[in-house]
Amino acid sequence: MHIDHAEQARTAGEQLHHFHGGLRLRHNKKNSCETPLENAPLPSLFYVPLLQQYGKEAEVTVATGQKVLKGDAIGCFGHLGSGCVHAPSSGVVKALVRRPISHPSGSDGWCVVIEPDGLDQWKELEPLTDWIKADPALLRQKIRDSGIVGLGGAVFPTAYKADDASSRGIHTLILNGSECEPYISCDEMLMREQPDSIVLGARILQRAVGATRTVIAIEDQMGAVNHALKQAVENVGDKSIKIVKVTTIYPEGGEKQLIQVLTGLEVPAGGRPADLGLLCQNVATASAVAQAVVEGKPLVERIVTVTGNGIRKPRNLVARVGTPISDLVDQCGGYTNDVARLVLGGPMMGYSLNSDANPVIKAANCILALTELDIRQSQAEMPCIRCGECARVCPAVLLPQQLDWLIRNQQWDDAADCGLTDCIECGCCDMVCPSHIPLTSWFCFGKSELRSLAIERKQAETAKHRYEARDARLLRIKQERRQRMDEKKRAIKDKAEKQKKLAEAISRSRARQDRNE
């Protein structure tokens, strides 16, 4: 990294910068922010999906009929240094079933079915109360064991990110409180109602990864949040935590975009924020870290915004993982009559759910019910007119029209060269396209094709390597066998010659003897 860049990254938040493109969208957050946070009630049955983080499903560690307490591990991952999935309440494990798990594919995944006993009894908690003196590695271990993942929606294991950051040496922790998508207000409600928990989480994370300062980025439209957080920082008197208001432009809540706003630097393509000495975490993740370390509670619940024109009384709920979404909707007054679609996540980056029986997952920041009017396409898709609007708004500075053309023509390598993997799927290009081309859907498709192509190529290479190794081995065995045969033949020949010579010698000596006699 360039020395100037290193210095510039250290001043994150001192001066605000811009990222390329982006859109100013209608906020639509107000209606879900008017009611204070409420706890969702215990459902009759929990369906806890074992796929709770980026990567593979966890392996189940409980048996049917087993009693579990709230916070007991019910599934663990054997990879990526990640923790477990925990029971959201005390009760009995009823079954392990395959059912829809709130995933863009709409496909089934393994879920642990737990019938709560109504006591909601925690397991024996092991808090690290003197975290100020605790070993950073121990703090990271605690984060791992508590099953904490990025709650902004990417659900990447926090401990893995923290381990990577601390091994590479970072100076600034960025807490992302600028949820840029319309409708979603779970982070805003959290910052308003539990600012102390976020500030505590920031201090713990700072110690766990060895950062010297923290920047909490919030949107400039969040007045109440700014006040609450400032108060919380003053209460603990920590000078290393700074609150920065960033302009509300979608998608400034994206990790790379936020870093660009705060530092003026771009995270290199294929790189990570740690390359700039930064670590970015969501505010909800920080709050979860605080609860995990100070109270010893694993991550079993999160704040979910239930909103949209299809919901009667939009609000934010604290919902346990595994609660059926229909239970949350019921608590929010149910659907309106013209509801047409259920989306998990925001209107820009969310995906449709095929049923409201799907469970709440750690990635579920928002349940958005849209009406017929919201989703109606005004016009059919038309050919690209190369107007370049999409390139103007692209926050990753790509050429969407070019990428679209390359993907449609299956020119995967060229698409990769044009930066397809840097697309953050924000949906800005879709929004401005005058031809109504579903560009982001094409990029999602293209990116997963690229991924599977890379896997296929790797498999082909392994197969080739193994085939060549086998060929070489067979050849070697053949040669060795021939060599052995040759040696044997030579030995037989040698023996025969020796005997012949011996016989000659004997006959010669006999002849000599005869002569002497």
């Binding site: 594919s105 029986a357 060929d471």
Partner: protein
């Protein structure tokens, strides 16, 4: 030189006209000599470069082989992907003899070799979804015949011991099926699970309809 010559030809009649025939002959001779000399020089240069930068194998073979799926199944009638690549390079074999590579493979080969794409030759087999071999471990008698047949050493076992397939290394070539005396090997199609799910190709947007016309079934539907 030529320009001057033409200039000279249109000089007024009073001007002294030089002996054009002699001049032309000298010029042509000079040009021929120069071209010959240059040709010889470049020829020597190329000859030297051909020796200096000599490659053992035809690079086209490597490029073809990179496109082939490396299943090593022999369905193309050649004993492996490399021999088939060599056969394609020498125009001995067609580009449509590789069922595991399928249509996409044929297209890629056609693009590389500047040929017309063509349908897969049905004599070589048909394109099938990717499968892995699974040994019924109760029925296996431990004869090692499949181990010897596997082109990528993906079967583990020993004589009179149970055999098993290393799933991640299996290319799905079917070569272990015929030698098995007790028919205990099955080809199982691998359906993607959630973590290796792929986004589908987008459908064109039609006016007046939702992008994905899904309705919300009520709770308890599943």
């Amino acid at each position: 030189m030529l320009v001057r010559m033409i200039d000279q030809t249109v000089l007024p009649a009073t001007a002294q006209i030089p002996d054009l025939s002699c001049n032309l002959r000298a010029n042509v001779l000079a040009a021929v000599l120069a071209i010959t000399f240059l040709g010889g020089l470049f020829g020597l240069g190329l000859g030297w470069a051909a020796r200096r930068f000599h490659v053992e194998t035809d690079p086209v073979i490597d490029q073809i082989e990179a496109i082939l799926p490396q299943t090593q199944c022999g369905q193309c009638n050649y004993p492996g992907c490399r021999p088939y690549a060599e056969a394609i390079a020498s125009r001995e074999a067609g580009i449509n003899q590789c069922p595991p590579g399928g249509e996409a493979g044929i297209k890629a080969l056609a693009a590389l070799l500047g040929m017309e794409s063509m349908p897969l030759n049905p004599e070589n087999g048909e394109e099938k979804p990717k499968a892995v071999a699974v040994i019924d471990e109760l029925a296996c008698i431990g004869c090692t015949l499949c181990i010897q047949a596997c082109p990528v050493d993906a079967i583990l076992g020993a004589s009179k011991q149970m055999h098993t397939v290393i799933e991640s290394e299996c290319t799905g070539c079917d070569l272990c099926l015929p030698p098995c005396p007790v028919d205990c090997i099955d080809m199982v199609i691998r359906y993607p699970d959630v973590s290796d799910w792929k986004w589908p190709k987008p459908r064109p947007v039609v006016s007046g309809t939702a992008l994905i016309p899904d309705e919300i079934p009520s709770a308890g539907h599943h």
